[in-house]
Symmetry: C2
Subunit: 125 residues, 2 copies
Amino acid sequence: MTKSETCPEFGRINEVLARVGDRWSVLLVISLARHGVSRFNELKHRLGISQRMLSVTLKALERDGLVLRTHYPVIPPKVEYALSEMGLSFHAAVDALGYWAVDNLEAIDAARAQYDSGRTEEQAD
Amino acid sequence: MTKSETCPEFGRINEVLARVGDRWSVLLVISLARHGVSRFNELKHRLGISQRMLSVTLKALERDGLVLRTHYPVIPPKVEYALSEMGLSFHAAVDALGYWAVDNLEAIDAARAQYDSGRTEEQAD
DNA sequence: CTGTATCCGAGTTGATACTG
DNA sequence: CAGTATCAACTCGGATACAG
């Protein structure tokens, strides 16, 4: 684990965020919050995620207690995924970040444009 | 960019979050918020980050307008980094996530322990 | 349908060395 | 002190094939 002991100051927080803050986890949580209980292939399609990553991410999220898995012993198999209470609270925090992103999209683009134009002048050789 | 078009449902937001939501960016913003204006090596030590990643992340953050860079033309060189207004607002959102992580550390550990113990029983062959 | 196992290319990160 | 360049190691994600 290269990331477990980044620095004493952040320690576990960083670890948790690293685990639960990756791209697919976040997307999965948002998607589950929006669409409610969903099935495997449903999520797969909705997110455009590979089976492998969906399986891996879902399992990690389940292990961390953010996602609830319900397996119906029928044929063909049927499994439903839903957010737990903790998953819901996590979504709230993530959503805040999402809103921030929306609110600051323009500002970021502007900052980038300005930064890039500044650099362009310099490399005008 | 492999991540730009994850899925039509999330688009740009996902892109921004991917850019600004990575491990080092988050840590850097938190650290700058806590300790205020900081210098390069100061951050390097504080976070236990490599020169390369610090340089890369700082530059990206500066380009996105989250971090302000002040370069003093003295010898030896002195450069100070600080959060911009946008960086501050980003920190607010990120902090919420940090608090969530702190608040749910125990619950996550518990969930993991339970999940793992459940699996241990099963593989008792 | 819901997964798991394997292979493999691509992107990321860190160590090291060097510059201003 | 504050970076940048380069290279090797590692991780991640996707495709594929197979299993329950």
